[in-house]
Symmetry: C2
Subunit: 216 residues, 2 copies
DNA sequence: CCCACAGTCAACCGTTTGGTTGATACGGCG
DNA sequence: CGCCGTATCAACCAAACGGTTGACTGTGGG
């Protein structure tokens, strides 16, 4: 069988070195290029295609410190002609990450703390055009399908964002030019949809689900 | 010059492989042992000392999925006779992490996304008994010294962390085996030190100041 | 030895928030 | 057209939270 040609995309040199060592230790895997973020990855793919040396699989991290993030990059790659399979390999398994990656066209989703041979198996499957999901991720996706999460309205997200800055109901009502009563109504709906019963828990869940993002 | 003998402590096989590859690529570095978490690391150190093959430096991650966390392990190691230098190598640079690690006796604090030669230099410095801080980390510590923020006690930080998960005062009191009255006292002190007057604002400020880290 | 501080707890009181019910208005969709 | 979801507001009550005062303990530094 021929070699599997791989592009690594991760902003951490340590992780790239680890994946390279882990994969090239075994027959049949070649890391032909690396990129620290999405835009550079796309350039690499185009460069390799121009050379007539196409890729068999892209190993993509989602969290990039700077530059194009993994989901955007995946979407861009899958929009290219003769796009290679993209296997997501990331640290976290939050709902938003997984869904966004799958929507963007990823062929699989692995967690970085997976045992090496599981990662290698996933790469092989992705290169063969198959789908590869880590067990934890698969379970989470199934759970999501079985009981779908309610969608917050734009106004509710807006409230949530103000909430996360620590504002009181009265402060939010002034900011949004609505009455406190309306603020409370919105909050009750938010708690309902997120399955919580107070504002701090709402912020915690919304942050986890990446509905809002906190100051960095 | 003689070789620098290293123990790697990280729960991710990928990261361990990356560090091993990155360090052993260069003359003078030998990875003599690895451990996925703190307790195993301590056992390794004892084993090597019993063999008369002491370590020159321990490379320690702080976030461990399971087992003994990095700060606890560092404290335990620095309590041993003829303890090796411990160099912290982690993903985040929150105040809480840095302070706790330094208090626990770490000789340095590097971020995983640092360039390879910076990491190697830090390992060399630590092995030589010197201190090594990543520029970002050093800047943060200096900023902390220049305009000192009121320091939260460990207990207060602990409360803050529970707070950020959305727990009520009653829930926190049960979790920490203290009364609600005590929880309220702590919270008042926290609000005071952070200059806020409610729990959501406290979480917002604490997140901004990187006193706590939210789910990610 | 004494002081300061962290941590613990209690009682009190006013304010804020959570939860409910009900009402109005507007837009889109079958 | 009627229904549903979104957004708006009001009134009400119970529960949680915020703020204060005061008190006790243990630990560590001057």
């Amino acid at each position: 069988m021929s070699e599997i040609r791989i592009l690594l995309v991760d902003d951490h040199p340590v992780v790239r070195a680890g994946l390279r060592a882990m994969l090239t230790d075994f027959e049949g895997f070649t890391v032909v290029a690396e990129a620290p973020e999405g835009a550079a990855a796309i350039k690499e793919i185009q460069r390799l295609q121009a050379l007539g040396e196409p890729l068999d699989v892209v190993l993509m991290d989602l969290q990039m410190g700077a530059g194009m993030d993994g989901v955007t990059a995946t979407r861009a790659i899958k929009g290219m002609p003769s796009a290679p399979p993209v296997l997501i390999l990331t640290t976290y398994d939050t709902d938003a990450d997984i869904l966004a990656a799958v929507e963007a066209g990823a062929s699989g989703y692995m967690l970085k703390d997976a045992p090496p041979e599981q990662i290698r198996a996933a790469v092989q499957q992705a290169a063969a055009g198959q789908t590869a999901l880590a067990p934890e991720v698969a379970a989470r996706l199934l759970g999501r399908i079985r009981n779908p999460q309610p969608v917050l309205s734009p106004r509710e997200v807006q409230l949530l964002e103000l909430l996360a800055t620590g504002m009181s109901n009265k402060a939010m009502s002034k900011q949004l030019f609505i009455s406190e009563a309306t603020v409370k109504t919105h909050l009750v709906h938010i708690y309902d949809k997120l399955g919580v019963d107070n504002r701090t828990a709402a912020i915690a869940i919304a942050t986890q689900r990446r509905i809002i993002r906190t100051a960095g």
